[in-house]
Symmetry: C2
């Protein structure tokens, strides 16, 4: 939402009209982003698809990049299943494999790939990506917390940095170098992150 539209000026309670409008607009944005190249995206077609007047979209979201940023924020708000298998090794493998499967499965990959690519196109989108990944890394750091509780890692570890290490090589292939991402790359990323964590490389205390 733009800064000049604070929550108390519209009904934003869960299930309220404003929340339903947002859900419809986010769904329409995701559908458009998945179907069209960035250059062909317009507020008008999102409005038509969502059944919302385009003036409302311009007022609340500012424009197409604001819609893309909010679709990403909406994804970040959703609960994300964090592996809890009982070992850090397996939890990290599942985290990496989940990224790999999401972005390589022909059925699953379309929307998240298009959403991240579209967000990389604007400053608003880049800020939303930063918020999105910061939230994801913080949530997934639970695998490190549990490993500390089990005595697998020492208490000073930066869990977000561990998660970042296990997944960065995958996003790097997908969105920067365009190199293929196979099971092997995911396994390697998880195994390398585990080794580094055990060696104390992610400890916060120097």
């Amino acid at each position: 939402m733009p800064a000049d539209q604070p929550p108390h000026t519209t009904a934003t309670r869960p299930g309220g009209r404003s929340a339903r409008v947002r859900a419809d607009v986010v769904a329409a944005t995701l559908a458009e982003v998945a179907e069209k190249p960035y250059e062909q995206l317009t507020v008008e077609t999102v409005a038509t698809r969502a059944g919302v007047h385009k003036a409302t979209l311009y007022r609340r979201w500012g424009g197409m990049d604001g819609l893309i940023a909010d679709a990403l924020a909406s994804s970040a708000d959703q609960a994300w299943p964090i592996p809890d298998t009982g070992t850090l090794d397996e939890d990290l493998r599942l985290l990496a494999r989940e990224v790999q499967e999401t972005f390589t499965d022909p059925e699953l990959r379309t929307t998240p790939t298009a959403l991240i690519s579209a967000a990389l196109r604007s400053d608003l989108g880049a800020a939303a990506l930063n918020t999105f990944f910061t939230a994801r890394h913080r949530q997934a750091a639970a695998v490190a917390d549990r490993a500390v509780e089990r005595g697998e890692l020492s208490a000073g570890i930066d869990g977000a940095e561990l998660v970042r290490a296990a997944t960065a090589p995958l996003y790097h292939r997908l969105f920067i170098t365009g190199e293929p991402l196979d099971d092997r790359a995911a396994e390697r990323a998880a195994a390398a992150a585990l080794l580094a964590a055990r060696a104390g490389l992610f400890d916060t205390a120097d």
Copy 2:
């Protein structure tokens, strides 16, 4: 160069007119990319800056995204100093620190950051990024070759994968998550890559 413009149709010998035109056009493209947001880039202003007729630019490069892709290809062609300090540990640290310094120093960062960001905007640019990073990884794999010669690593290692591991976390912060990139992050990436290499994670033989 577009596929319909094979080298033998124009004078492409080093120092020839065609090579000088390309050098002028690449320099003008880099200057424009560094100064303006992607949306404001035009073939016309590159043409004016390079002192080349815009019809020539459209014919040889197709458009702005072709110019950006060729500027990246031109960068990939340039020799890149690969560290050779005598230890793999220090070579990897220097590789990672070079990326970190290039993209965080206020003087150095502008052009390469703008060039990669611009390339991420189009399919042509993405293909050029893939070629660019494939070449970089292959060149820098010399640090692994030398480590094998010194007996620091076993002969089966995939040197490009080692280089990728030492640098992926940095590009991930810079171009995807927008998280800060400090000395510590560069040191961690190099140290984690070294641990993984020593543990045999990058060995090509299964």
